[in-house]
């Protein structure tokens, strides 16, 4: 009771935020404990960082889809921009920043920066459109980013950075290193992503997004989402608010992409395709639009699930598809929805009537 008063949990939003922080911290402590006690299977161990990256992606996309109310089908594009720029930066920094956590942090910041620039450039045309048209243009941009990165070459030698498109015409001097190799992506990455780094990124993403949602930006975004015309009638600048959310979301996706990529020896642009964008969208829809904890749980569950389904071998993706469809059918069934609403201890009194 005293604790409750202390953080003023009167409003259900505050309570949700609080529960989310606690849940993430608890999950981290449990996983870290299990992992140190050697109780985690090696496949689970390997999934910890990707799960963190996917959680941040889910938070990032939920800011656009859940809070802003715009459908983005190209979020993997921002992830890949962050991954490629961040990893390239990490490789360049390798020789003079030897402390890996610092290098990772800088790489993630650089990844976020590049992704936010991409987010801004894409946001200018995209946010003028509405609804499904906006969605299709984000899809288009996702594909364009993939095509460009798939044909992009970047190398470094004593004369500095060299880049080229389509063909490798970087002509690196002796001792130079070709970092991004077009369709081959980047290989020879030093794996410096850790679970702790992932956890910290998740927490930072949560703090940023929660505090923004509880600020004037968040109110403006949700107002515009609920009723654009009414929002304009009270002077809310639709484009500016949406753009801010889009850029922040892109930056988070970029950082997540960098974390994700630094967990593997090689990355290719192909990995961040339409299916990846959809996967993240599924996290958001399953977890609930605007429900950050839910979408993080969905991210974790849907990353672990295919692995757990491995015993079904060939049938696992089929099962995955069936589960996806069933989840949608069940979660939108009115009777079941009503049943769950009654169970929810946090429902508003108003709703209960």
């Amino acid at each position: 009771m005293a604790l409750k008063k202390f953080i003023s949990l009167k409003r259900s939003e505050n309570r949700k935020v609080f529960i989310t922080y606690i849940a993430v911290i608890a999950a981290f402590i449990i996983c870290q404990g299990l992992s140190m006690a050697g109780l985690l299977s090696s496949s689970m161990q390997g999934m910890l960082v990707p799960i963190c990256a996917y959680m941040v992606m889910a938070i990032s996309l939920n800011l656009v889809v859940g809070v802003s109310g715009e459908l983005s089908l190209g979020h993997a594009g921002f992830m890949s921009v962050g991954a490629f720029s961040g990893v390239a930066a990490a490789i360049i920094m390798q020789n003079f920043i030897t402390y890996a956590p610092l290098r990772l942090a800088l790489a993630m910041i650089i990844g976020a920066l590049f992704a936010s620039i991409a987010g801004f450039l894409i946001g200018v045309p995209v946010l003028r459109l509405k609804g499904d048209y906006l969605a299709i243009v984000t899809l288009a941009f996702g594909e364009i980013i993939k095509s460009i990165l798939n044909n992009f070459f970047l190398g470094i030698d004593q004369n500095g950075l060299h880049m080229s498109m389509l063909k490798d015409t970087t002509n690196l001097a002796e001792g130079g290193r070709l970092i991004i190799r077009g369709p081959m992506g980047i290989n020879g990455i030093t794996k410096i992503s850790t679970f702790i780094a992932g956890f910290i990124l998740v927490m930072i993403a949560l703090i940023i997004v929660f505090n923004l949602v509880n600020s004037r930006l968040g109110r403006a975004l949700m107002a515009i989402r609920d009723d654009r015309i009414a929002a304009e009638s009270i002077g809310l600048d639709v484009t500016k608010s949406k753009m801010t959310a889009f850029v922040i979301s892109a930056a988070l996706a970029g950082a997540a992409g960098c974390l994700f990529a630094m967990n593997y020896f090689t990355i290719e642009a192909r990995k961040f395709d339409f299916n990846m964008s959809i996967l993240i969208l599924v996290f958001v829809v399953l977890g609930g639009q605007g429900n950050f904890l839910g979408s993080m749980i969905a991210a974790a569950a849907l990353t672990i699930l295919p692995e757990k389904l491995r015993e079904f071998a060939d049938y696992r993706m089929l099962l995955y598809a069936v589960i996806l469809i069933m989840a949608m059918l069940i979660s939108n069934n009115d009777e079941i929805k009503y049943f769950f609403r009654k169970l929810n201890p946090f429902r508003n009194k108003q709703e209960a009537e």
């Binding site: 243009v137 594909e143 389509l166 469809i325 939108n332």
Partner: protein, 293 residues
């Protein structure tokens, strides 16, 4: 001469896109949903046609007819089981369901037919036509594709404008509530739209794989997305828009492949889409509606 050849190839590819885009556009017009599983119906149609022709040695025409039949049934089943319960659900839930159906179809195909690419037999075995003293050669399949597309457009336009069912379809896409009050069976009309769209997808599948003969469970995905782009390009919901969008997209893609870069051709296609939508936010032939306040 190269220009003409690329143009004809573009028209042919565009015709395929247009036929697929029709399915997208009709379903979008009536159910307001982005049916991402549409591309995979193409793949199913192509597989049916493949087995009918190369395994069971049926004549190509019968193979295509069989594919159309099976895909139509598939379309109706999918609509009944997966989409119909979600009529009132938020559009995002429907979108995810469609994607689930897409994964389902792809993985079923993977189990049934394995991931090894099949070499699709051309449904026309004759040599290509030589024009201008052999400078320009056009394959029969190219001509067949364009002709089929034109025929489908004519038939569909007649259907939508002249028949009762077609008019019911248009009424439903204008205003479902009003259509219901006028005694139109909205559910049946939506089912029929899915059926027609899926049947067309089967034809597109056969044509696509005759022109690009590698058949895999993921064959339908990218053409599906591009055809969807074509539908948006022309103005989603509009039949002539789908034709225009499909043809333009095909021509742009072939020219981009020939003159810019084959790796970047998809990027060029999508870039053109973005530019078009910025100039005409509802697509080339779509009309903007003013929201009543």
């Amino acid at each position: 001469m190269d220009l003409l050849r690329h143009f004809i190839n573009g028209m042919s590819l565009g015709s395929i896109y247009a036929i697929i885009a029709l399915g997208y556009t009709m379903v979008y017009g009536i159910a307001k949903m982005l049916n991402f599983a549409h591309g995979d119906v193409i793949m199913v149609g192509a597989y049916v046609c493949f087995y009918a022709v190369s395994r069971y040695k049926l004549p190509p025409f019968v193979g295509v007819a069989l594919a159309v039949l099976l895909c139509t049934i598939l379309g109706i089943i999918v609509e009944r089981l997966a989409y119909k319960p979600l009529r009132q659900a938020p559009s995002l839930a429907v979108l995810i369901t469609a994607i689930g159906v897409s994964y389902f179809l792809q993985n079923t195909a993977l189990l049934l037919w394995s991931s090894n690419p099949k070499i699709f037999p051309s449904i026309i075995k004759r040599a290509s036509i030589k024009l201008f003293g052999g400078q320009l050669s056009i394959s029969h399949i190219t001509i067949l594709t364009i002709v089929t597309c034109v025929l489908i457009m004519i038939v569909l336009n007649l259907f939508v404008n002249k028949t009762r069912l077609g008019k019911a379809m248009r009424a439903c896409s204008e205003d479902k509530g009003a259509a219901l009050l006028m005694g139109i069976n909205v559910n049946a009309t939506i089912s029929m739209t899915f059926a027609i769209g899926s049947g067309l997808a089967a034809i597109a599948g056969a044509l696509l794989c005759s022109a690009y003969p590698t058949l895999m469970p993921t064959t339908g995905a990218l053409p599906g997305i591009k055809a969807f782009t074509a539908a948006v390009f022309g103005g989603i919901g509009s039949i002539s828009g789908a034709l225009l969008g499909g043809l333009l997209l095909g021509v742009i893609e072939i020219f981009a492949k020939a003159y810019i870069s084959s790796q970047l051709s998809d990027a060029v296609v999508f870039a053109v889409l973005i530019i078009v939508l910025l100039v005409k936010p509802a697509g080339l032939l779509g009309k903007m509606t003013q929201e009543k306040v």
